[in-house]
């Protein structure tokens, strides 16, 4: 199975790439739409500032490609800044429009006593189990590093959250084929590995289904 990592120039993709390879995926690392179209599923990673990321996605004509993924039946996973880009807008730096695949906005953590960034291991509490996940694990600690979070979200699009300084920080989000993870699953030990494994297994299952329905025609 081929997973495309959208390499638009934001952040270190080495760990994500290694984690996916470890799960038996063939990984394409590219900013070229034609190349990325070969993939069965796409990962949108990212570390850094929201406006820079959106500008790069638009300059490389990747935003239209990403917006079309749900219609073309291709699963998409946004990680960290990559998840934030899936929302409607952000105030990081200057107000910027996002991809708008999920409902909500990206805002900065606020609070006198709050240490920012929200950095370290925090526990996810699931309000609903995403279809791809199948079942929860006992230990749901994951590794977060971020200063901005998703707010005004649609409760049906937030599957798990972590408590931090009075905030319920959306951790696992999504709608249909679109999934977001605010934390770094590739850095989140055994549970992070499990999350990626389940997401990949669901992509694989979906692809096999399509193949068998095509060959059955």
């Amino acid at each position: 199975m081929i997973v495309g990592i959208i390499d638009y120039g934001m952040g270190n993709l080495f760990s994500v790439e290694q984690a996916l390879k470890g799960l038996g995926c063939t990984v394409i690392l590219s900013d070229d739409v034609a190349e990325l179209k070969r993939a069965d599923a796409l990962v949108l990673p990212g570390v850094g500032a929201f406006p820079d990321a959106m500008a790069l996605l638009e300059a490389k004509e990747l935003s239209d490609f990403i917006l079309n993924l749900p219609d073309s039946g291709t699963p998409l996973l946004g990680i960290c800044l990559g998840m934030q880009l899936l929302y409607e807008d952000s105030v990081e730096g200057r107000p910027t429009k996002g991809l708008g695949l999920l409902k909500g906005s990206i805002r900065r953590f606020e609070g006198k006593e709050l240490r920012i960034p929200h950095m370290g291991w925090n526990e996810l509490e699931f309000s609903q189990i995403p279809e791809w996940l199948k079942s929860e694990q006992e230990d749901t600690h994951v590794y977060f590093v971020h200063s901005f979070l998703a707010v005004d979200t649609d409760p049906s699009e937030v599957m798990a959250a972590a408590s931090y300084g009075g905030y319920e920080v959306p951790g696992v989000t999504g709608d249909g084929l679109v999934t977001g993870m605010q934390f770094h699953p590739e850095k989140s030990g055994a549970f992070g590995h499990y999350l990626l494994k389940q997401w990949i297994a669901a992509v694989r299952g979906k692809r096999d289904e399509e193949v068998s329905s095509v060959s059955g025609d």
Binding site: N12, Q18, M119, W121, E123, V145, G189
Partner: protein, 250 residues
């Protein structure tokens, strides 16, 4: 709620793990990749790899070590030692390190902290502070604790976070190698002065030492090397103990 982190540290020289006792005697004890994996499996929350190679070849070897560790590890790790330029940072971060730690070079050229933070983000930049009590306050030392600077540790902590450090790795030279507990007064003084996470280092011996530095000094993370390295205790044992003591750990 964020958990308190347990951070084993590996001192690496020419690609091999060693541990300095009071920064002097060194004992060779293994392959950094094997040890990193072992700590990961034991439940370590993060690792620090400190390169103490002097030679150019040693530095090159370290980039390879970082790449292999990044491939094998499923938790974040920081690399420090001899990082003098933004280019050095880039090489290590590209090889898969999550953060780089600056010490001597940050004191020689504080602007390096700002440049690193602007280029990679504050979350990637750790400033390591080696501090020693002088009778009334703590002095900052460089060059592996051999050279005293004009800086007061608390002032330097404030200054480096203002420049963009996203985390401080605070080592008590008085406690390092002593195994009689972390430096609570130093950790608390720095903890109260800055908003970024503080990793307490130096002095870990007993299980109770870890609980003390989290409770008394509100450290965000505790670093230890020799107690884990020579299997006097294990990460799993420390975390089990902390859990029983009511400290929030993973």
């Amino acid at each position: 709620m964020l958990t308190k982190r347990i951070v084993p540290c590996l001192d690496v020289k020419e690609g091999r793990v060693v541990k300095g006792i009071n920064f002097v005697s060194l004992r060779d004890a293994g392959d950094p990749v094997e040890l990193a994996k072992f700590y990961d499996e034991q439940g370590a929350d993060e690792l620090v790899l400190l390169d103490i190679s002097a030679s150019h070849e040693g530095k090159e070897t370290m980039v390879e070590v970082v790449r292999t560790v990044a491939t094998e590890l499923s938790i974040p790790f920081t690399v420090g030692g001899g990082i003098r330029t933004v280019e050095d940072m880039k090489r290590l971060l590209r090889a898969g390190a999550d953060k780089v730690s600056l010490n001597t070079s940050a004191l020689d050229q504080p602007e390096l902290i700002r440049e690193g933070a602007e280029f990679f983000g504050s979350q990637c930049i750790v400033v390591a502070i080696d501090a020693k009590w002088n009778g009334s306050s703590w002095d900052v030392y460089t060059h592996g604790g051999r050279r005293k600077t004009e800086w007061d540790a608390v002032e330097w902590a404030k200054r480096s976070t203002k420049l963009g450090a996203g985390e401080l790795l605070l080592t008590s030279m008085d406690k390092d190698g002593s195994k009689d507990g972390f430096d609570i007064a130093l950790t608390k003084a720095v903890r109260d002065a800055v908003d970024v996470p503080v990793i307490a280092s130096g002095g870990a011996g007993k299980l109770a030492d870890f609980a003390e530095v989290f409770r008394e000094a509100d450290a965000d993370a505790a670093l230890a090397a020799s107690v884990f390295h020579y299997k006097e205790t294990s990460v799993a044992e420390v975390k089990g103990f902390l859990k029983a003591e009511g400290v929030n750990v993973r």
